[in-house]
Symmetry: C2
Subunit: 365 residues, 2 copies
């Protein structure tokens, strides 16, 4: 089994990850403890590395951080939203200081997008993060390209890394992606740098990013840092149900900047679990497990478990047809995005300010 | 034929470099025009790439820069001194702005020396450079680890570089040295970055560094910059005459921080061209071509051609024996270093100031 952090393959079966790569299951105990968090409660965050140790450290009152980031190659989409919500959750739950890397160097490496092109997207992305609820007073938000400690860490990481390791983790990639990997290890480990002084860090991230986690844990061990923990969420499908939702195909995904019309157009075409005929569906009900629209509600837009159950029941008992159902969900999503976009608009200046500060840790300018 | 910028092999025959790697000869015309410069006059600078174009551009009044650097892994030695003198020459001759990179990231990559270890050496190295005559008002002196544009350039360079290219130029090296190479290309090309706006740059450097020059010229071509020019000096032998003078073996070299006692101890043991017996030497004269002590005068400590000729004549006619000759040269070197060290001492605060400024170009902080 292979995991490619830059690909768009869909993982159909998550179980092999636990055996092959040593992921740990999110336990019932964790799920219960963090049940107010939709991702934990619903098993969207389904696996981790060392999150138990992290929680223990936080409970003991140690200084903890949460770290993740975004590649500013497009507007904030639903995947970035999941990560953001988990960061915000860790901030609230543990008082964790957030490190949020705007990976403009990775956008250059992976997408060939220069800083001029990514700069406005970076501001927009950070404004989304703020609108979702990040506390900017307990956060370092920075661009990779302005963060000396992270850029320099790549050199240190290179000394402790062989080409063979990189090829084993990532397959044969170009030099630029390898360099992006070394830099990203710096992003992940930065909270643990002496000058920053955090004792633990957790990285909430899509499970496709696990190679980065393994790589940075290896490095941490070599450098005598505590191993960074990770909390992994499932990634969900593109609207057509065929690949993972990805920035590479804008029509396959929803972004937080989508207009009401975009939402209508995209969701109307989304894969459902509908039957071939209305008669059949009325008789058998539809297959909600196949339905991407249901998944949108489950992951993102229906926080109330009872409401979600109602949707499911109506679906599987044939009480509602897909067309009607879609119209309702489109409305729900449109309302959510409208509210979000209003909030975000007000936060654009703050986002700009945060990025101008270059606040990538204690040694930042 | 192979050239290894990190090795200590001695090049016995320079001619193949011209055919195999396309170096250009320093012409008689150049030598005459720049005859006030010891390195040009004596053929120590013996080869170049595109220096003719550079001179032409400077003559046409274009904004030109000169770029070189030092790995702060030890005190300034005679090799660093040659480079420094050439930088200072270009400053004076063409009004070239100097970019001087203190390659602390390369010291980390190549020597495993951390920033804390290299920081005081960096200050000392820069003070040497100032004592040799660098005009700090027309210079950017910076550490690699504090220069965002250079560190970020590594990412851009990685996108335009294959592993195959690096292996062809440098052989199989570790990832850390490859990253140092990408970073160094940024050092070399930095004057040509849009924000700095120089139209040409020349790199004075030992000929063993030619792979870096070729690499950065390739990159320049891909990025649409004018190709950086280079002026190459021969490197001279270790005091024992067996390898190239190298920081890796402190007793094989003279550093500008050596005490009078160091000079005496080291030069007394240096290889000469003496014969087996005094009688034989009185009859045949000694072989000055073999003598490292003569080479020290030729390259560094006897600027007056007539005096140098006198030394040679006394040697080859058997008028002076090696012991006596060494004593005289030791005195000359001791005097030079004493004066230099006094000058340098006064310039230490200025060196510290320059490095604190992080002045690595127009976009620097």
């Amino acid at each position: 089994m292979k995991i490619n952090p830059w690909g768009s393959e869909l993982i159909k079966d998550y179980e092999p990850l636990f055996n092959e790569f040593g992921l740990q299951h999110v336990t019932d105990e964790m799920r219960e403890r963090f049940e107010k968090n939709r991702e934990f409660r619903r098993g969207i965050v389904f696996a981790h590395r060392g999150f138990d140790d992290y929680v223990k450290a936080a409970d003991e009152g140690k200084r903890v951080a949460v770290m993740s980031g975004i590649k500013p190659s497009s507007e904030f989409h639903l995947g970035s939203k999941l990560t953001a919500e988990e960061i915000i959750f860790m901030q609230k739950e543990f008082g964790a200081t957030a490190f949020y890397a705007v990976a403009d160097n990775e956008a250059l490496a992976d997408n060939g997008m220069g800083y001029e092109e990514t700069a406005p997207l970076a501001v927009s992305n950070v404004a989304d993060l703020l609108a979702l609820g990040l506390d900017p007073d307990n956060a370092f938000v920075y661009k990779q390209s302005t963060c000396l400690p992270v850029l320099n860490f790549a050199q240190l990481a290179a000394r402790r890394t062989t080409m063979a390791t990189l090829e084993a983790l990532y397959g044969h990639q170009n030099l630029s992606l390898y360099l992006a990997v070394l830099t990203q290890a710096g992003d992940i480990l930065q909270p643990l740098f002496k000058e920053n002084g955090f004792e633990r860090v957790v990285v909430p991230v899509g499970v496709d990013q696990d190679p980065h986690i393994r790589f940075s844990r290896d490095l941490a061990a070599k450098l005598g840092y505590p191993l960074p923990a990770a909390a992994f969420h499932r990634f969900f499908r593109a609207l057509n149900g065929e690949t993972k939702m990805s920035k590479r195909d804008p029509d396959s995904m929803l972004s937080l900047s989508d207009s009401a019309d975009d939402v209508k157009r995209k969701v109307s075409k989304a894969l459902t679990g509908g039957r071939s005929t209305v008669e059949e569906q009325k008789k058998l009900g539809a297959e909600w497990r196949k339905c991407v629209v249901y998944e949108l509600m489950f992951y993102h837009f229906e926080d109330d478990d009872k409401e979600l159950e109602k949707i499911r029941t109506q679906c599987e008992t044939g009480k509602i047809m897909c067309g009607e159902c879609k119209l309702k969900r489109i409305k729900k999503i449109q309302d959510y995005l409208k509210k979000h976009q209003e909030k975000k608009k007000k936060l654009m200046p703050k986002a700009e300010e945060l990025l101008e500060e270059r606040a990538c840790g204690m040694e930042a300018d």
